[in-house]
């Protein structure tokens, strides 16, 4: 079953490119540990999920690229075409001339309604191309204007038009300091709207991934493409075809459905996070040895003690409960959990709410939002819905 990816804004498009790249190169990797038949079955399944076939054999990603200014989309399209391995569909992108200016209100109230029809048209064409459609994977950031504002709008529209299919939103939590000044406002508004219209929210924090790059992968000068590659690596392991219960030649057909089934039992608890090990640069892979048992144990401990990466795990914390780890084919392991390790995220969100609250008290920057129709009541609504979510997680 196929997944259609919607990439929104600069962040979404940059990450989306890395994800598709990783998926395709993973499926073509030469580190064969299994038989040829297995390999072919795996490749076919992976391809069907994310790419559609073209006449001359170059797979086309099942993706829709949306951005309000042309630079990033142009760059993404050309990078994909340059690789020669795959590319984006020619008509699968939508862009305008002037960006959203980091303004959630602009993305949601102005760009959204104005371009609703065109964007939904492109999405519909992409969906029609799929033989069996599984759901949407929406990549966006929370700090900017397009990704966050337009992303919330598009997700809402998808909920209205495709209420039967599942939507998973991949959202990027910005760095604590130094990205966008109004990121707190944008994040609050995005989260509250997404909670209502999305089925699952997969969260990634720039801070955490930055640390992974620095400590585990030993990259000296970390660039955004390094960060995006780590992200793609994690997402790849979420979405790679997994074995089904029957035999090793049949892959699970409904990736999103499976994930949702196991991880989002109650619509109140939608937030997911990914723990992925091992993370290391390709060079050190040759010098390392690890076994399944060791990895699993590591992972379990990471989850319990709330660590985001392998180093610095507190070994003394005892587990309350644990979830299901679906095994993936590659020599990697992943775990998606929604258990109390989300408490970490709740605290983060709490901090976010608080700083946005303080800003609001002094009415800073509010005039930029009211210009486009987001009034103070909207902020209040967002605050209340998020506080409710925080409270329900705390009750767990």
């Amino acid at each position: 079953m196929s997944i259609v990816t919607v990439q929104l804004g600069q962040c979404g498009n940059q990450i989306g490119f890395e994800v598709f790249d990783a998926l395709l190169s993973d499926s073509h990797s030469s580190q064969g540990l299994c038989s040829m038949r297995e390999n072919e079955a795996y490749q076919a399944s992976c391809k069907e999920r994310f790419f559609s076939e073209e006449e001359n054999g170059v797979p086309i990603a099942r993706a829709v690229l949306v951005d309000m200014e042309p630079k990033v989309i142009n760059q993404t399209l050309s990078k994909a075409a340059q690789s020669g391995q795959w590319k984006y569909g020619q008509h699968a992108c939508f862009c305008q001339k002037q960006g959203s200016g980091n303004n959630w209100a602009y993305g949601y109230s102005v760009h959204g309604p104005r371009h609703e029809e065109s964007i939904m048209n492109i999405i519909r064409k992409e969906v029609e191309k799929c033989d069996s459609f599984s759901g949407f994977f929406i990549i966006m950031s929370m700090a900017g204007g397009t990704g966050s504002g337009l992303g919330a709008f598009v997700t809402q529209n998808l909920e209205d038009q495709y209420s039967n299919s599942l939507k998973m939103n991949q959202i990027i939590w910005p760095y604590g300091t130094g990205e966008v000044i109004v990121q707190n406002y944008n994040s609050i508004l995005t989260l509250s709207h997404l909670y209502r219209s999305s089925d699952a929210l997969l969260l990634h924090e720039n801070d955490a991934i930055h640390k992974i790059c620095a400590k585990l992968m030993n990259i000296k000068q970390i660039s955004f493409s390094d960060i995006n590659q780590v992200l793609a690596h994690q997402l790849g392991s979420v979405f790679q075809p997994t074995y089904s219960a029957e035999s090793s030649f049949h892959y699970r057909r409904n990736p999103l459905g499976d994930l949702m089934e196991h991880l989002v039992p109650h619509p109140e608890f939608k937030m997911l996070s990914v723990r992925n090990i091992p993370h290391m640069s390709e060079n050190s892979l040759a010098y390392s040895t690890f076994t399944w048992a060791g990895l699993l144990k590591h992972l379990r401990q990471m989850l319990i003690s709330n660590a985001k990466m392998e180093e610095g795990i507190d070994r003394h914390v005892r587990p309350p409960l644990s979830g299901l780890p679906p095994l993936s084919k590659m020599s990697l392991n992943k775990d998606l959990h929604f258990n109390t390790s989300i408490a970490n995220l709740v605290i983060l969100r709490g901090k976010d709410v608080q700083s946005a609250d303080v800003g609001k008290k002094f009415r800073a920057y509010i005039h930029q939002y009211t210009k486009f129709g987001i009034e103070e009541e909207d902020f209040l609504d967002s605050f209340t819905s998020l506080e409710q979510v925080v409270a329900s997680y705390c009750n767990l």
Binding site: T177, Q221, Q354
Partner: protein, 475 residues
Amino acid sequence: MTQSVVVQVGQCGNQIGCCFWDLALREHAAVNQKGIYDEAISSFFRNVDTRVVGDGGSISKGKICSLKARAVLIDMEEGVVNEILQGPLRDVFDTKQLITDISGSGNNWAVGHKVFGSLYQDQILEKFRKSAEHCDCLQCFFIIHSMGGGTGSGLGTFLLKVLEDEFPEVYRFVTSIYPSGEDDVITSPYNSILAMKELNEHADCVLPIDNQSLFDIISKIDLMVNSGKLGTTVKPKSLVTSSSGALKKRHKKPFDAMNNIVANLLLNLTSSARFEGSLNMDLNEISMNLVPFPQLHYLVSSLTPLYTLTDVNIPPRRLDQMFSDAFSKDHQLLRADPKHSLYLACALMVRGNVQISDLRRNIERLKPSLQFVSWNQEGWKTSLCSVPPVGHSHSLLALANNTCVKPTFMELKERFMRLYKKKAHLHHYLQVEGMEESCFTEAVSSLSALIQEYDQLDATKNMPVQDLPRLSIAM
């Protein structure tokens, strides 16, 4: 991709504008090797086939035929504009983009604003409409002028109202050169204060600069380059201050180098909007992030590094030095000390081979020494553009919304009051039709209100951050 139009008013504005266009051409020439008219160039230039008679058919794609600047040049005396039109840049400007007169404004804001404003209003509007028509998606007007004179300050600020009425959606970024302490124009305080009122009300964003700071920066560069302290690692000519080309014969005058700094400022400001990068920042984001309240839109800027190093592999210590310098008071383009005042917001626009980890490291390093307002403790906006400026491998532009502009305004007000109490030179202004004493009093009260806002923010400086109670809800 969006376009911007540059409006240069008065002698100062036009001289700076000329440097700007020269640098812009050089920058695009360095980046655009194939001579194809692409979207980056289109933000400031039109591609015109000069063989076509009339307006010059605009070509939107393909090879570059002839580039015309998206500019409107306004001056009430002909000397400066004529010189530009006879210089090396004459082909870049269109005679249809000029508005000139003969007599000048006589350093009198009232003449510039009221007399010439009403006289040329229709012409001005027509030129703006024309330049807007040539744009696919006009985003911003950059107005360059001085505050102390007559045309730049009077007519320049008259334009703002016109632009606001005619193009309410387009941003108005104003680069204003404030008069220094030892200014040679006696009535400059009057002109500046009267102009400030207009800036308060009609500009989206103002970048105040003063000549004394620019001069100090130039002297420092000369000292460093000529002292030989840095040995052979420093290139002999600083590219921030020199431009080979436009005004070669006037290389002796210090104004050239000073104007180049301002031109660099404007180029760096728009670089992330024109060129690609891993974290883009458009012009509307500048206004969105750095202006928390509509009246407080004065941004102090600083550019680093000031001289180029020949060593291509910059070790991280030099990179960190670049960041530290951006916050020192010697590198600000206004007489101000941001480190000892309160920050409302700060933007760092980096160009060249700098990655996000360098940026984060430096922010973490510098944060403890800077004071941010209580409700915006993490008030940083960053952008990374991959294309460095010509001749440099990386550069940084820091824009700060900081209460350190207050002393400049207070000093200006003091100088104004000294003259106004004695009613000195007032008759020159009052004899202009439409000027009354109330204009002066209104202007002063507008400035006082602004100063008071900054005072109120300063008062919160050392108060501890209050933790607001969380919204409590019924479960």
